[in-house]
Subunit: 161 residues, 2 copies
Amino acid sequence: MYKILGVDPGSSCTGYGLISGDGQKVLYVTSGAIKLPARATRFEKLREIHQRIAAIIATHAPTHFAIENVFYSKNPRSTLVLGEARGAAILAAVLAGVPVFEYSAREVKQSVTGNGAAHKSQVSFMMGKILGVAPPESEDESDAIAIAMCHAFKNVEMKSL
Amino acid sequence: MYKILGVDPGSSCTGYGLISGDGQKVLYVTSGAIKLPARATRFEKLREIHQRIAAIIATHAPTHFAIENVFYSKNPRSTLVLGEARGAAILAAVLAGVPVFEYSAREVKQSVTGNGAAHKSQVSFMMGKILGVAPPESEDESDAIAIAMCHAFKNVEMKSL
């Protein structure tokens, strides 16, 4: 029995999705979008991301933490701010002793839909088929669930979970 | 009486410098360079940065935390990794309730030497004159002390400390 927490960090909204499984079947547990107050400073947002993710880890005790491997953004400033948000989220896993795994957007799409260049709507469609839940409205939340599914599928195939 | 912790985060080495003062005089307290094990994963390094800075804050109880405002690096991947390291360091201050301040490299040079385009050796020279300590060998450590001095000088002038 494993539990995978997928996280899609961002400085305005951070999505998370938790799935569980036993190597045969993948089950949806919970997911959500942590909306960060627009008036908060960058530093207050880091605390919010960290504490909310730490609380989810404390409540659900995931065995794995998965995150998208994003290495660029629109501009250097956005990339740095995204890096800070990622650091705050990853640290919640690392401090709780949960191992962290990274996957590229292409790997996520490939493992969920069979097509590394799939459209986002196709990812949502497969998510509904496989987990039996309606795709969430928030794109960050949807992406987080897809990242968790990617980790499950890649590792169930490798029988390492 | 204030105590300023300046931090210069990096994924291979993170410098820190602590100074104190009473509005009249600035005193050197301690400084160092946290060298991160080359074999550690990026995630282990984040934990190391966070826990070492948190320990320094717990020991010395700084009243202010100052960091350089860097918004780019050689490439997007370096910028993202730098952002993660910054997030881990800043979070140690935010979780301990220490207010965080940012200054550009130009502001740091201007406030320490009177010249925003000063060479690093000039910053080191003034550091020796003002604090009465030999400039540290580590550039990250030296930069961290300069950032703390910048915060002291800018705020003593404004009489807000």
